[in-house]
């Protein structure tokens, strides 16, 4: 099928086939993202189903060959915003000042001068559940931007469209999300004794 063919010119059967090829393969990505922003599996499933329903209804607006995944995520996010607008919890209050750049402790400290990259020990000590917990504790907007960038591999511009916010907001949320995560992971590492508070303050 030629890329410039309008979906409006398609027969119902062709439309179905195109939808199967371009939209449905993104089901897993949409479902995983929906899980991360919904409190139950049922809500996540409903959100994904409604996303595909709406996508099919407005499939004539989609240009074949363009980024279908970003288009679907935008629809999902719109539905999510509408659904939760009235009773959505405000993102948790984060005191940004608490989350200064934390490289310094890694850069300046020589945990063991015989080790060339002391941060290796820090990174290897991080457990999957620690990361997952830390991500889940992020305010929803921060968590979304982080997952869309790092896991779904969207560009800042695509994320801005999906989240319906300026690119600058995407950048600052991403930066803050990562700093909050680093701070939490450093705290965990301290608790486990991988790094010490002294080395951090150096």
């Amino acid at each position: 099928m030629a890329d410039d063919q309008k979906t409006t010119e398609l027969s119902e059967k062709e439309k179905q086939q195109l939808f199967e090829e371009e939209a449905l393969p993104h089901l897993n990505a949409l479902y995983n993202y929906a899980l991360s922003i919904n409190s139950s599996k049922q809500d996540a499933e409903d959100l994904v189903q409604d996303t595909f329903l709406r996508a099919y209804r407005f499939f004539h607006q989609y240009t074949p060959g363009t980024n279908c995944k970003a288009w679907l995520f935008t629809i999902l996010r719109n539905l999510y915003n509408t659904r939760y607008k009235n009773y959505k919890k405000k993102p948790g209050k984060v005191h940004y000042d608490d989350y200064e750049e934390i490289y310094d402790f890694i850069i300046e400290s020589d945990l063991d001068s015989s080790i060339e990259d002391p941060e290796q020990e820090f990174f290897h000590s991080i457990l999957p559940e620690e990361i997952i917990d830390a991500i889940n504790e992020l305010p929803e907007e921060f968590r979304s931007v982080l997952l869309l960038a790092d896991i779904e591999d969207f560009s800042y511009k695509e994320i801005a469209e999906i989240m319906d916010c300026p690119i600058g907001t995407v950048m600052s949320r991403l930066h803050r999300a990562r700093n909050i995560l680093k701070k939490k992971l450093v705290d965990y590492a301290e608790e486990k004794g991988v790094i010490t508070a002294e080395s951090r303050q150096k």
């Binding site: 179905q16 941060e119 995560l181």
Partner: protein, 74 residues
Amino acid sequence: MNCQEIPKYIQLYIDGELQETEKQQLAEHIECCPRCHRLVRIERQFKMIIIQKTRTIRVQAPARLKRRIRTVIF
């Protein structure tokens, strides 16, 4: 680009969002500055760790969801 300027470009650099010229300037700087090179490496490693560990909990959408979507749409 000097050491003071580097931090504000690191995020854009590891996310692949820097313009070609800036990308080159940053690459040239870290080639001869071990400290900034290390900053970039740590930041990239941090991103990779998030990606790796998050992948471990990625799930398949339930088969019933796929079936339901097909039934409702087509």
